[in-house]
């Protein structure tokens, strides 16, 4: 009994190692992260420059807001990351190789999500921090001393939000199995449907993954009575990610590869 527990936990570590190796040996993953980093810097520069032009009320909070203003666009990079991680399995029939090496589908896909999170958390932290750091360097003359704990909280929230977005995207990618439709669906939701309908249905929209997730790193306006705390935001967005991942695993276990 004990021997089988040991061997199955070793098997799970093997699967995690394998999924991590798959991710880091795929040049597309690095390309996506590098492009996301560079695009984020350009945007941070644009927002900082726009912020400096209208330099009113430049405080510590405004540096954070400016540095994280590009988050809305940066999430596209992480949506792509999640979709690539999921859909690359379906190129050239690699899924058959995966399933003959790791036929325990539920565990295998779960380990893929764990591996993806292990890669995404530091990448998101570095990319988000670099944007905030840039704004800080450019705006520090105009700003008061920045509060370190506030900054760390916001950056942790931003990295968490991007990781959750990546995992949701990976789950949708695994459900649809094709890059273009998954991308059209997710970009369509995050950039078109959600921002367009937000003004019309505010209360319900707080429970949607992206809107709830925004509270993880953005300080809500003080007059926003529907505002969530960062913890509530994390909880709601996290539940969405778990629902989508569970759905993807359930579908993956049932269908023909």
């Amino acid at each position: 009994m004990r021997a089988s527990v040991v061997s199955s936990s070793r098997k799970i570590m093997h699967m995690l190692g394998s999924e991590l190796e798959k991710l880091v040996t795929l040049p597309l993953i690095w390309l996506t992260l590098i492009v996301a980093f560079l695009a984020n810097m350009v945007l941070a520069a644009a927002f900082t420059s726009a912020g400096l032009q209208g330099a009113s009320g430049a405080g510590a909070q405004s540096i954070l807001n400016t540095g994280l203003a590009s988050m809305g666009y940066l999430q596209a990079g992480f949506i792509i990351l999640g979709i690539l991680a999921a859909c690359s399995e379906y190129e050239n029939g690699q899924i058959r190789t995966t399933l003959t090496a790791m036929p325990w589908r539920g565990y295998q896909l779960s380990m893929k999500y764990v591996a993806l999170a292990i890669l995404t958390v530091p990448a998101a932290l570095i990319i988000a921090a670099s944007g905030v750091f840039y704004s800080f360097m450019m705006m520090k003359d105009a700003a008061a001393a920045i509060e370190m704990d506030k900054m760390i909280e916001a950056l942790a929230g931003a990295a968490g939000y991007l990781t959750i977005t990546t995992l949701i995207s990976a789950a949708i990618g695994a459900l649809l199995r094709r890059t273009t439709p998954a991308l059209a669906l997710l970009i369509g939701y995050y950039f078109i449907v959600s921002p367009l309908s937000e003004p019309y249905l505010p209360r319900i929209f707080n429970y949607f993954p992206d809107i709830a997730g925004h509270y993880m790193y953005m300080k809500p306006a003080s007059d926003d009575i529907n505002a969530l705390t960062p913890m509530q935001g994390t909880g709601i967005a996290g539940i969405w990610a778990i629902i989508f991942m569970a759905g993807a695993i359930a579908a993956y276990r049932r269908r023909d590869a």
Binding site: Q53, E91, N92, R178, A184, G188, L196
Partner: protein, 249 residues
């Protein structure tokens, strides 16, 4: 002509293409409806500042459908995600049927253009119908020159999507950039706050063909020319790249 017909039938047999077409036909009406409901009170009171945008705003955001069509038309030639073809790309077959790469590209572009025009006609019809239903007698009149501008905007956007996808060989970048840029959170709008050059980006210039926004800088005709120039440049780069590249590379 044969190549053109072949491209049309290839497009219509793509998985998910019908969803893109449905999106293109009805999403503009949906966006316009949301906007109409929001503006209705102001319009009736005669204090709306956005009367000239009513309806058109749906057609501006609703361009997503033809972006997907333009990207899918080209990216489908390169995908290897299908189980059945054993990892082969459709492009190899396509180019053995139409050996001239230039005529292959022109046929592709022609098919995308025709579909975009048809889709735009349907979208204009659904959007105007919805606007009239919601606003009734307060609905603004739509003049033909602006609706023609909408059609040009859709066609040029779809061609930009196809041209970009020919260059990148994958739909990921064109789809992301173009979809985001035609949304409310358009990157071009952000950039236009930093540099005036951003007004010459294709989507920003093209939208002047039918939206008279407070910060418009081009006449409709000039905007159309700028956008058409972008599409032409992208197709030319695509033609050069596509001509030089090995199919398998």
């Amino acid at each position: 002509m044969k190549a053109f017909k072949a491209e049309l039938s290839k497009l219509f047999s793509l998985p998910y293409i019908w969803l893109a077409l449905l999106l293109g036909a009805f999403a503009p009406a949906l966006f316009a409806a949301l906007d109409n409901f929001a503006e209705k009170k102001d319009i009736i009171a005669g204090i709306s500042t956005r009367l000239s945008e009513v309806g058109y705003i749906g057609l501006a955001f609703g361009v997503q459908g033809v972006i997907i069509v333009g990207v899918l038309a080209v990216s489908s030639e390169y995908v290897r995600e299908s189980n059945e073809n054993g990892g082969g790309q459709q492009l190899t077959t396509s180019l053995s049927v139409v050996p001239s790469r230039l005529s292959f590209m022109l046929a592709k572009g022609g098919a995308v253009t025709i579909i975009s025009i048809l889709l735009c006609v349907v979208a204009i019809f659904t959007t105007l119908t919805v606007t009239r239903l919601i606003l009734g007698e307060y609905a603004p009149t739509f003049d033909w020159s602006k609706l023609l501008g909408v059609a040009c905007y859709w066609v040029l956007t779809a061609l930009l999507a196809s041209g970009l996808t020919f260059i990148t060989k994958s739909g990921v970048i064109p789809l992301t950039v173009l979809m985001i840029n035609s949304s409310v959170v358009s990157l071009s709008v952000v950039l236009s706050k930093v540099t005036k050059l951003a007004y010459y980006l294709p989507d920003r210039a093209g939208i002047d063909m039918f939206m008279s926004m407070s910060d418009s800088v081009h006449t409709p005709l000039a905007g159309g020319f700028v956008m058409a120039a972008w599409a032409a440049v992208f197709f030319m780069i695509a033609a050069i790249v596509f001509h030089r590249r090995d199919v398998a590379a």
